[in-house]
Symmetry: C2
Subunit: 247 residues, 2 copies
C-alpha cells in the first residue's frame, strides 16, 4: 500500500489531504511488478524513509478515474512506461488487515503527524495487480515518502508490511496459471532472446527446472517464434539462435 505521491501537487499528498476527498475511500491497489534479469525473477519494492519498511508500490483511485487507469498512472510514475502488461490478481478484503499502525509510523517518519481518524489509517480493501515489464528498459523511481524503488529477487524478498508478502504469493500463483495461455515471455524479455533465456523465464516463474529438449521442441511447435541470426556470446561453445515473438 505504498502510495504514489507528487510533492508538487499537495492534493495528492496523503498527509495534507485531510479528508482524502480526492480519492475513493477505503479502496487501494497494490501492484506486483515482475521483471527478469540474469536467471532471476525480480519484483519492484519501495523502501520508506527512516523506517526499514518495505512494501509493494500501490496507490489510490481518483474519484473520476477508472480503476485500471489509476494503476497505470502509478506504474508510469515508478517506471516511466506507458503500455504495461497488467492483470488483476485478487482482492484482499479482510477487515483486520490492520495497515493503520504501520501507515502512521511512515507518515510520522516523513513529518506528518496525523490524527487517529485520518483517512489513511482507516480500513482499506486492496485490489492486487501484477505487471510484467522489460527489466532493462526501466530505471525505477522512488516517490516523496520513500528512499528507493528497486528490484529484489522474487525468491528472496525481505519481509513486507501491510501483509504484502501474501499479495506477492498470490500474484506468483496467478502468473503461473497464466503462463501457458498468455505468452508471458513476450513482456519480460527483450525483443530478441535465446531459447535458453525463454526457458529461464519459465523456470523462474514455475520455480522448477524444465527439460531442455522438451521445452525447445514445445516452443518451436507452438509456431509463435521467429528465428533470426546467431548470438555469439564469446563463450567456447555453439552459438544459439536468437528468436523474437511473431506479431
Amino acid at each position: 500500500m505504498r502510495r504514489y505521491l507528487n510533492m508538487k501537487d499537495t492534493r495528492k499528498n496523503p498527509g495534507q489531504d485531510i479528508d482524502g476527498k480526492n480519492y475513493l475511500t477505503n479502496i487501494a491497489y497494490d501492484s506486483v511488478v515482475f521483471g527478469f534479469a540474469g536467471d532471476k525473477l525480480k519484483i519492484l519494492l519501495m523502501e520508506y524513509h527512516n523506517t526499514k519498511f518495505f512494501a509493494l508500490p500501490g496507490g489510490f483511485v481518483l474519484r473520476k478515474e477508472n480503476l485500471n487507469d489509476a494503476v497505470r498512472r502509478g506504474l508510469k510514475e515508478r517506471t516511466g512506461l506507458d503500455n504495461i502488461y497488467l492483470e488483476q490478481c485478487y482482492v484482499f478484503g479482510d477487515a483486520d488487515r490492520n495497515t493503520g499502525k504501520e501507515m502512521k509510523k511512515i507518515l510520522k517518519a516523513n513529518g506528518f503527524d496525523v490524527h487517529d481518524d485520518h483517512w489513511l489509517l482507516d480500513r482499506f480493501i486492496s485490489i492486487a495487480y501484477y505487471a510484467l515489464i522489460n527489466y532493462e528498459s526501466v530505471v525505477p523511481q522512488p516517490d516523496a515518502l520513500s528512499d528507493s524503488c528497486t528490484w529484489y529477487d522474487a525468491d528472496n524478498l525481505p519481509e513486507l508490511i501491510f501483509g504484502h508478502n501474501a499479495i506477492v504469493e498470490k500474484a506468483l500463483q496467478t502468473l503461473r496459471n497464466n503462463l501457458d495461455q498468455r505468452l508471458v515471455g513476450i513482456n519480460l524479455l527483450p525483443k530478441k532472446f535465446t531459447m535458453k533465456d525463454l526457458q529461464q523465464v519459465y523456470e523462474a516463474i514455475l520455480g522448477k527446472k524444465l527439460r531442455r529438449t522438451t521445452f525447445q521442441r514445445k516452443m518451436l511447435n507452438l509456431d509463435i517464434l521467429k528465428r533470426h541470426g546467431k548470438f555469439y556470446s564469446g563463450s567456447a561453445n555453439k552459438a544459439p539462435y536468437l528468436y523474437s515473438f511473431k506479431k
Copy 2:
C-alpha cells in the same frame, strides 16, 4: 448490484440509511450464482418491483466485515446455504459504470425518493464473484425491493441493468478456465450422479458437445470418482452406474 435488504432492520435499508455509514463507501459486490438442472446451466437473477429491471444479486460490505464474509452473508439470505463454493472473478472499476440512473428508478418504485447526492447513486467499484450451488437444495428468496429471485438459463438471459451482462460473461470465462483444475462438478451436482450428468455439466459450461467415450475415459482415469450401484431410470436401455466424488 441488487442489494440484500432486510426490512426489519432499517440500518440495512439503503433508502433510509442516508449517509450509508454502515457500509464501506464506493464498494459493492455482485455474485453470479450458477446452478445446473436438466441439461442447462442456470443463473440466479433478481427482478425489481414495478420496473422490469433484472440484475445479479449483490450487496455492500459492512465497516467491520470481511469482503468474503459480506458475499457469503448475501448468498445465505438468497439461498439459505452456508458453505457455498465461492470464487472471486474480476473487479469492475470503470468510472462511467453509471448505475445511478437505474438505481434511482428502483428506489422511487419502492417509495424512496432520494436526493441526487445519496450514497447509493454515487460511483461504485464492483467486485464480482461466482458461486456454484446444488440447484435442488435451494429455494431462492427475493428481498424487500424485489419481486423475485429465480433461476434463468445461462444461455438465454434477459438484458440486465448495471452492466451485469458483462459480469456474467466474465464469470463464465473464469468458470471455463477453472473447469479442469477445480472439479467444478462436485459443487453443481447432487452427491450421486451418472456419467451423463457430469458430462452435461461440462458441456453446459463449455458451451459445446463433448465426445462421450473420450469424456468417460478421461474422468475414470482421473481416479476421482467412486462407483456405486446402478441407476434404473425406467427407460428401455442399459442402466448407468451412479458415481460420487472421492473425498
